[in-house]
Symmetry: C2
Subunit: 147 residues, 2 copies
């Protein structure tokens, strides 16, 4: 029964906390966590502005961080929770990592991997729309503030 708290929503809330951290730093508010056996092994948020680096998306840092933690470059058995649909760069990195599951919140109909034509690994299970509204509202707030 104790495992019941570890839902996709439970971990997406942690990713959303990371997205809020990004928001507070003036970064596009995307957050991610990587989980293995119900344990968070990486938590990251977008840092492209702070690091002056287009590759510093939340997912990219999470993949590097999780691989460091595990001591191996493959993320089989792991799940990524990310507040926004990954872009083609991040989808490509996730592909190479052979991660077992990707859960994302809001769709990115403009630059998400689906509309761009990129692919996740065929073995990767994908769950979409988890806390999509909360994830999406944060993004809209951010861009409203910047206008």
């Amino acid at each position: 029964m104790t495992e019941d708290i570890f839902t996709d929503e439970y971990f997406m809330k942690k990713a959303l906390n990371e997205a809020h951290e990004a928001f507070d730093k003036g970064e596009i508010p995307v957050g991610a966590v990587i989980v293995v056996d119900n344990r968070v092994i990486a938590r990251t948020h977008n840092l492209t502005e702070l690091l002056t680096d287009v590759t510093a998306h939340a997912e990219m840092q999470a993949i590097t961080s999780a691989a460091n933690f595990l001591g191996g470059k493959y993320l089989t058995g792991c799940t990524l929770y990310v507040t926004l649909e990954p872009c083609q760069m991040c989808a490509g990195a996730l592909y190479w990592s052979q991660i077992s599951k990707v859960v994302y919140g809001a769709d990115d109909t403009h630059r998400g991997y689906k509309v761009m034509g990129a692919k996740l690994h065929p073995k990767t299970q994908v769950v979409t729309g988890v806390m999509a509204e909360e994830c999406s509202v944060l993004m809209k707030e951010f861009f409203k503030k910047r206008r």
Copy 2:
């Protein structure tokens, strides 16, 4: 007339030197350089094994390195030379960087961005097949050695 030495082959040779460095380290032999105004501002090679990180492709490191050098995250005005067709991760990163030109050597008909469906930025000029034979031979040597 002095500018005539700065051909695509001239810079691809430098990328190929980097690929040889990767080869010598037991890494899949892919090398890259980024050039602005005929000046090399980043030179990198694949380090996925050494860093235990699927994101450590030559191109990814070159993008980060060039942005550091330039002090800005956009690579407009820059050209990337890479010995192998970029994968979808690297194509995605190049997309975000808005790099002006990408020159690659050998095609990657298996995991290259084209066959995977990913896209470079519409403003990015692409030149293919520069020293393709040399770039391809090095890859074949590597995989022959590993068998």
